[in-house]
């Protein structure tokens, strides 16, 4: 009889539970400048937390532990408080994501219009489940509640672009386009 938890899983858990890094990343000048621009819009530094995270994420793709501490140091707010903001908002990424983040709408209208089938198609095509990133590091698939375009359901966002009235064909096209785009961009 085997244990409930496979040894590999235990090992994985142990490894991911490694001693947290205490290295501090520095904010770049560009990031600092953008964050400081936000100060005038808020009552105090602490309130800029979310904006600061968005700005830094724009530059770095995601928020690492080191980045989080750098922002917390810069804003002089407790890191736990900033973490609670970062983990509350699903569009602040605390794990690395692909170059293109796909947000597939899973709300009622899209569901009626067959988003579940489209999701299956996307998953098969990209060979990833929601929350995962493709092996080539281009796509991350996330489910999201309503994107506010119910009359054009089903919809999804790729990066900052909205794609409406999705069909199998349009999804193929979007993915191929993006793949081609990133193939051009890649240095080799």
């Amino acid at each position: 009889m085997t244990s409930m938890i496979e040894p590999e899983v235990v090992e994985l858990m142990e490894r991911s539970n490694k001693h947290p890094s205490t290295a501090e990343a520095q904010l770049t000048e560009a990031e600092i400048e953008e964050i400081e621009r936000e100060f005038s819009r808020y009552e105090d530094k602490a309130s800029v937390g979310l904006e600061a995270l968005r700005i830094v994420q724009k530059h770095r793709g995601w928020i690492s532990d080191e980045t989080l501490r750098a922002v917390s140091n810069f804003l002089q707010i407790p890191v736990a408080q900033l973490e609670s903001v970062a983990t509350y908002f699903q569009l602040i990424f605390r794990q690395p994501v692909g170059k293109e983040v796909i947000l597939l709408c899973k709300s009622a209208s899209c569901w009626i219009m067959g988003c579940s089938r489209l999701q299956q198609k996307l998953q098969n095509k990209l060979q990833i489940a929601p929350g995962q990133t493709t092996a080539d590091g281009i796509f991350t698939l996330l489910e999201t509640p309503c994107l506010g375009d119910c009359d054009k359901a089903p919809v999804m966002m790729v990066g900052e672009e909205m794609h409406r009235n999705l069909t199998d064909e349009s999804i193929d096209k979007i993915i191929e386009n993006k793949k081609a785009h990133h193939a051009d961009q890649s240095p080799d």
Binding site: M13, N17, P20, D65, L68, P78, V79, A80, Q81, L82, E83, S84, T87, Y88, Q90
Partner: protein, 947 residues
């Protein structure tokens, strides 16, 4: 007062409360999670739903949340309506979908609010068959376990930790069904109040890690009301003890809060909660120890550390008795040294044994004078010592030279609440009830003025409106300047720099403008001028308003103010003793010194200690082996607080009685019993010895003290005495479902042994007797049918959050009112040579207190010896943070690590008071020393060494 109807019954209740509060006060069981009597309502958990009806015609009513519904006159409510019950059951069902079925292995089981509420809601069958969300737990340090899967997301933990206690490293992370209460990464919780999470959490997410080491269920713990011995606030505690079941003796297993409305309320600090473990430490003295050579009078001055072996108590007592006899017959000098960490009863017994003229306080002159000054100041009719609720109610607070976060943590927690009074005032203007916690906290955040002067690295900085780190001398001058402004007599105002003058003006204005100003100071600076300054401000304020002003003076130890009562000012210090021993040397009469629960090395300079310990015979009564024990000829095992009965007097001048939770192991007994036993064996018959030998109950001593010292007359009425009975029975210390009564000693005896007799208290070390004697102060097992968790405390209160339903077993000292003479700030001190630094004491929550520092969990977080110097002094001496430096005094030197702080005033060196490794430095604080950097940095040498 409004009249309301609940389930057809009419009630008249206090106005301004919410319905949940009213129901609980009326004794109606209504389940809840997120509401807390000290933290108010947020309406998060939806558990306290009731039906509110428009009028008597209304048959349907509407569902409202009890905690969010202000009661109104003529209101009609139903707690038991089916729709309300169904809703509450549904909420529980929802909460329970993710809650694991791990009650049998959960340490909260048996005192779990979630278990109680689940039972109460009637929803006891799980229909959900799906998977549960699971979390990874964090390492939160040596005090707290973390088991997030049990969380029901009531948010009480973060509300307490962040909003009530001001912590910043615990937060609600994530969202939806994945909310996680933890830190950003693994690590020890930083707040000194983290232990309260154990009681605040309604289920088993946060549990006591020190208790885990020797866990038993709540119902298997034997408890009695006790007093925390780790500072002078006097928080009430409910320690729990039980035998391990392998035939060994009982061990103390944990400490929880015991509600006292005027002192600790619902919360304790971590030193108090986790410091108990010293009684189980390896260093515990359980047998009578004697030097290997049993010949008397063989020691000479200069001989160090003796080797001890066990001795039969009877022989040791006989030896002790012979000493007493010799002293009575004039052939020997018998000296007694008392202790501020021992009870009044123990100290009084020693005084009785040796005679008042040979009895000393066990403190150096400076410390004893400070205590007498505190006592003297508190007699001034123009001021009063505030209770904790009064501190919380202050609308302007000035803290003068006392690091209350470290020396009186519970008081610092109260000051933190005082900072919210402006916000609360604002809420009242807007007619928002104060229990509407979330709404009140959203209001204009301008905090009430909290001024910290002469306080280093105070944890209260985040709520301080002004924070001025400065030397003790400047603190006193600053205080004098404020007092002059308040009394309108500017003539005596000291010279202060321009910036400080402005600040003093400002502070005087704030205090004069406040309705309930509060001054806090204490013995922390070990400086009389600081105390005088605080008193001058308070009396000036008292005169202005013609009503007494609140002045809280923190004393260093649990019975500091008590021991001060036993001495006339100016007498009884260790220097006087050393002097008299020195002058008595010529007579050639041998000297015996009896030391009561005191490590002299922490008390006086090396010369004084050496003079005293050079006595021909040193007899020590103590609970832990310490430096002094190494020099003792005879050591008697003394009972710790949880093992004994007695009285302490806290910083407020409040006498409180504590009861034995369990019998000490081995030959451990109360120090006064050893003294009484020795007196009984003594050949010489003197009335004082006969009286001492005749005392059988701790309360006999209390009564004798009350008789001899008029200010302590109230000690005689402190609580039910030994002869008190309810229906002819004592109160049981064990719960009605205490398990293993007949089996727990089976390894040693098959026959059931009778319980230990308790000659001191109207309580039995047994489950037989009165359970839940809620109308007496004797109950520490806070339990009520259906309410197994500590939340059941409301069943023992006059109303929710109000005092307990009986005389609370405390009494203020009855001191003669005596106005303080006017005082002027000292002008300048002796010039300091540039090489010297002024040593100033710093206090540590973990480490400064002698006993708690020996508790395993606390010992693991105590810093290595260090000293803090200003940036300027550091660069002048080319010292960098982390360097090994040596503090050089004429008589001793100490090796420490350098720390550098911008808050450390120039020319001063902050030294942690009493920190392990630096205990012997304590007696030199404040003082002067030179500092040198060691060329060779050694990582192994970190402790202090005396020459």
């Amino acid at each position: 007062m409004p009249n309301i109807t609940i389930d057809g019954e009419q009630y008249e209740i206090e106005d301004g409360q919410n319905l949940l509060n009213a129901c609980l006060s009326l004794g109606i069981n209504l389940p809840y999670f997120c509401w807390h009597p000290a933290m108010g309502s947020v309406g998060a958990c939806r558990q306290c739903a009731v039906i509110e009806y428009k009028d008597f015609e209304d048959q349907r009513g509407k569902l409202v949340m009890g905690c969010m519904t202000p009661i109104k006159d003529g209101g009609i409510y139903s707690v038991s309506a089916d729709s309300a019950r169904e809703f509450r059951g549904g909420v529980i069902e929802d909460l329970m979908t993710n809650h694991p079925h791990d009650c049998p292995v959960c340490e909260e089981g048996g005192e779990c609010h979630l278990q109680d509420m689940t039972e109460m809601s009637g929803h006891t069958l799980r229909r959900y068959r799906g998977t549960k969300r699971t979390h990874r737990n964090q390492y939160l340090g040596p005090f707290i376990n973390h088991e997030m899967n049990r969380c029901i997301a009531c948010y009480r933990c973060t509300r307490f930790y962040r909003e009530y206690a001001g912590g910043s490293d615990l937060a609600a992370l994530g969202r939806n069904n994945q909310v996680y209460f933890g830190r950003e990464q693994d690590g020890m919780l930083e707040s000194g109040f983290s232990g309260n999470l154990v009681e605040v959490c309604p289920t088993g997410v946060f549990t006591d890690k020190t208790f885990s080491e020797h866990f038993v269920r709540k119902w298997d713990l034997q408890t009695a009301p006790s007093i925390c011995e780790h500072c002078a606030v006097g928080c009430n505690t409910a320690p729990g003890a039980r035998e391990p079941g392998d035939g060994e003796d009982a061990i103390l297993r944990r400490v929880t809060n015991l509600f006292n409305h005027d002192i600790n309320g619902y919360f304790l600090c971590d030193r108090g909660r986790f410091g108990y473990d010293y009684v189980n430490s390896e260093a515990r003295i359980k047998n009578v120890l004697a030097t290997r050579t049993l010949e008397l009078i063989e020691t000479t001055a200069g001989e160090n550390e003796k080797i001890h072996g066990d001795m039969a108590p009877r022989d040791a007592l006989q030896q002790f008795a012979d000493t007493i006899t010799a002293a009575r017959r004039g052939r020997r000098r018998l000296i007694g040294i008392g202790s501020p960490r021992s009870s009044l009863e123990n100290n009084f017994a020693l005084r009785q044994l040796v005679g008042a003229e040979h009895y000393y306080a066990g403190l150096n002159a400076r410390d004893l004078q400070l205590l007498h000054l505190v006592d003297r100041i508190q007699r001034d009719p123009r001021l009063y010592s505030p209770t904790t609720p009064q501190i919380e109610n202050a609308d302007a607070v000035l803290v003068l030279g006392e690091e209350i976060e470290q020396t009186a943590p519970r008081i610092a927690l109260a000051v933190r609440q005082a900072a919210r009074n402006r916000q609360k005032q604002h809420a009242q203007q807007l007619k928002i009830p104060l229990w509407q916690d979330a709404s009140v906290r959203q209001l204009d955040g301008s905090p009430s003025p909290i001024l910290l002067v002469g306080v280093d690295t105070a944890g209260l900085c985040d709520i301080a409106s002004e924070h001025l780190p400065c030397t003790a001398e400047q603190t006193a001058m600053f205080a004098a300047a404020i007092a002059c402004r308040l009394s309108g007599d500017d003539s005596g105002s000291p010279d202060l720099p321009e910036g400080l003058l402005e600040l003093a003006d400002n502070a005087a204005q704030i205090l004069a403008g406040a309705e309930r100003p509060l001054i806090i100071s204490g013995c922390g600076n070990r400086d009389k001028a600081t105390l005088h300054g605080a008193a001058a401000i308070a009396t000036a304020l008292g005169e202005r308003t013609e009503s007494p002003c609140a002045l809280y003076l923190a004393c260093p130890e649990v019975n500091s103010l008590g021991i001060a009562q036993l001495f006339e000012p100016g007498t009884g210090d260790l220097e006087q003793l050393a002097q008299s021993l020195e002058s008595g040397e010529d007579t050639g009469m041998p000297v015996s010194v009896v030391i009561l629960e005191n490590d002299l090395y922490r008390r006086a300079d090396a010369e004084t200690v050496e003079q005293i310990l050079a006595a021909d015979e040193v007899i020590l009564l103590d609970s832990l082996l310490n430096q002094t024990a190494r020099r003792a000829d005879l050591i008697f095992p003394a009972a710790a607080t949880a093992e004994s009965q007695g009285s302490y007097i806290n910083s407020n001048g409040t006498a409180q009685r504590f009861y034995a939770v369990y019998e000490g192991t081995g030959f451990i007994q109360e120090s006064w019993r050893w003294l009484s036993d020795a007196a009984g064996l003594c050949g010489a018959k003197a009335p004082s010895l006969t009286a001492l030998a005749s005392w059988r109950h701790s309360t006999d001593l209390s009564a004798a003290i009350a008789c001899e010292f008029s200010q302590m007359a109230s000690l005689a009425d402190l609580g039910p005495d030994e002869d008190y009975r309810i229906d002819g029975l004592k109160v049981a210390r064990q719960t009605h479902r205490y398990s293993g009564r007949t089996a727990i000693h089976a390894k040693a005896h098959v026959a059931e042994q009778p319980p230990h007799a308790d000659p001191d208290a109207p309580m039995a070390f047994s489950m037989e007797g009165i359970q839940n004697a809620g109308e007496t102060p004797l109950v520490a097992n806070i339990w009520s049918p259906g309410w197994n968790s500590n939340q059941s405390i409301h069943k023992f209160q006059q109303e929710v959050g109000g005092p307990r339903r009986h005389a609370d077993g405390t009494a203020r000292l009855l001191r003669e009112p005596q106005a303080m003479p006017s005082w002027r700030a000292p002008t300048g001190s002796a010039p300091r040579s540039p090489a010297e630094l002024e040593l100033v004491p710093l206090y540590c929550l973990y480490g400064s207190d002698e006993l708690s520092a020996r508790a395993k969990a606390i010992a693991s977080v105590i810093d290595e010896p260090y000293a803090v110097l200003s940036e300027h002094d550091a660069s002048e001496r080319a010292i960098a943070a982390g360097d090994s430096v040596e503090i050089e005094l004429p008589e001793a030197h100490f090796l420490v690590r350098a720390r550098i702080s911008t808050d450390q005033p120039r020319g001063t060196l902050g030294v942690p008071y009493g920190l392990p490794g630096l205990e012997e430095l304590a007696a030199y604080l404040p003082g002067r020393a030179t500092l040198s950097r060691l060329a060779r940095i050694s990582s192994t040498e970190s402790g202090g060494t005396a020459q």
